[in-house]
């Protein structure tokens, strides 16, 4: 999704109303209970919260010029990889085998066999349409953020085709956008 993404894709960047801010905070806190104690640090009530609107109904939540979360249409908010690296335990984790790393880093969606093979692993209770952190065999840090198409159970059962949509991966456009001006 962020394969080609640059400053030009941001069509508008606005400071949003407090009521909207509250809503964003709330939905993030709901989605990531692990972040609750950190909310005040991440999204301080005092500092202005910007929402950058981009093409394809994409929104970025920007605090102090750093993009922290993104979402599509009214979908769930997902952290950027830089944020996830700092707090790796806030999301459910999927692990792909080593062979898949190359493709995931090129932006490919995650196929079921890469998750079910010996190198892969899944948190069992994940249902479909949930954001997950994609880890890799033998690596400590997440390499992508995905959005499940099938539940973990179904992925095991079907074992074919796309299991997780690749939303944001290392070295894509959003990753390179460390700071917004």
């Amino acid at each position: 999704m962020f394969k080609k993404f640059s400053f030009e894709d941001i069509s508008a960047q606005n400071q949003v109303k407090t009521s909207v801010q509250r809503k964003i905070r709330q939905s993030i806190a709901e989605e990531y209970p692990g972040l609750e104690p950190l909310m005040e640090d991440l999204l301080p009530k005092k500092s202005p919260l910007l929402v950058a609107k981009c093409q394809n109904h994409l929104n970025l939540v920007v605090v102090n010029n750093v993009p922290l979360f993104f979402n599509v249409r009214d979908g769930p908010y997902m952290p950027t990889l830089r944020l996830l690296h700092q707090y790796p335990d806030i999301m459910k984790k999927f692990q792909v085998d080593r062979g898949a790393i190359k493709f995931v880093l090129a932006g490919a969606n995650i196929m079921c066999p890469g998750l079910t093979s010996p190198g892969g692993a899944m948190d069992d209770e994940v249902s479909e349409e949930t954001p997950v952190a994609v880890m890799a065999e033998g690596k400590q840090h997440a390499l992508a953020i995905g959005f499940t198409k099938l539940s973990a159970k179904d992925i095991r059962a079907v074992n074919k085709g796309i299991g997780v949509d690749n939303m944001h991966y290392l070295n894509d456009g959003l990753w390179k956008m460390e700071r917004l001006e």
């Binding site: 080609k4 030009e8 104690p37 690596k139 400590q140 840090h141 290392l170 070295n171 390179k176």
Partner: protein, 199 residues
């Protein structure tokens, strides 16, 4: 309130910006190697071995060169030159597809567009190639010439600065003075569809 989990510090590669462990899958592993050897040697044990091998080779080479030239400093200088060559960053930008982006010619093009017969707009293109921030530049231009100046998306997705009014007469001086990086020789006017050097 629950205990705050501390943020994890991730080691990012100084060359490609990825977490160090992903360098091997990054855009250019070869270029990251020298950095990794220094900063994340434990992640890539193979590299160290390779390095040792190289050191041995280098030492042997040096010994040889010393033997031939019979002056130690000659060998040392050549080794230093070699290491300098490898660490020099190359200015090749890679597009997402892995293609190498062509370096654009650095020049500023100034064009006067007449509208409504007696009003005109001066368009400045290419300032960003000199590392000038366009938003800053437009502000400065507007201030200097006391007119409206804005950053506009021009044809082919490039950004340019539109300044209201005919300011072609002393924009060259202003540009070269405010941004010493911009040489006068790189500034061109467009007159009757032809490029004319300003200098």
């Amino acid at each position: 309130m629950a205990e705050k989990p501390q943020p994890v510090r991730v080691l990012y590669c100084g060359v490609c910006g990825l977490p160090a462990e992903y360098c091997e899958f990054g855009p250019d592993f070869e270029k990251c190697k020298p950095w990794l050897r220094v900063n994340a040697a434990d992640l890539y044990p193979d590299l160290l071995n390779e390095d040792n091998q190289k050191d041995v080779d280098k030492a042997a080479e040096q010994l040889q060169s010393v033997g031939i030239s019979s002056s130690g400093d000659g060998g040392g200088a050549s080794a230093a030159a070699a290491s300098g060559g490898t660490s020099k960053p190359e200015e090749v930008k890679r597009l997402p597809g892995g293609k190498i982006k062509k370096k654009e010619k650095q020049e500023v093009v100034i064009e006067k567009i007449v509208r409504n017969k007696r009003k005109c707009v001066t368009v400045v293109k290419g300032l960003e190639l000199f590392g000038v921030k366009l938003s800053d530049a437009s502000k400065k231009l507007g201030k200097k010439f006391a007119t409206g100046a804005s950053v506009v998306k021009g044809p082919t997705e490039k950004e340019q600065i539109d300044v209201q009014g005919d300011i072609a007469y002393d924009i060259v001086e202003f540009l070269t003075e405010t941004w010493p990086d911009v040489p006068e020789t790189a500034i061109f006017f467009i007159e009757d569809g032809k490029k004319v050097a300003a200098a």
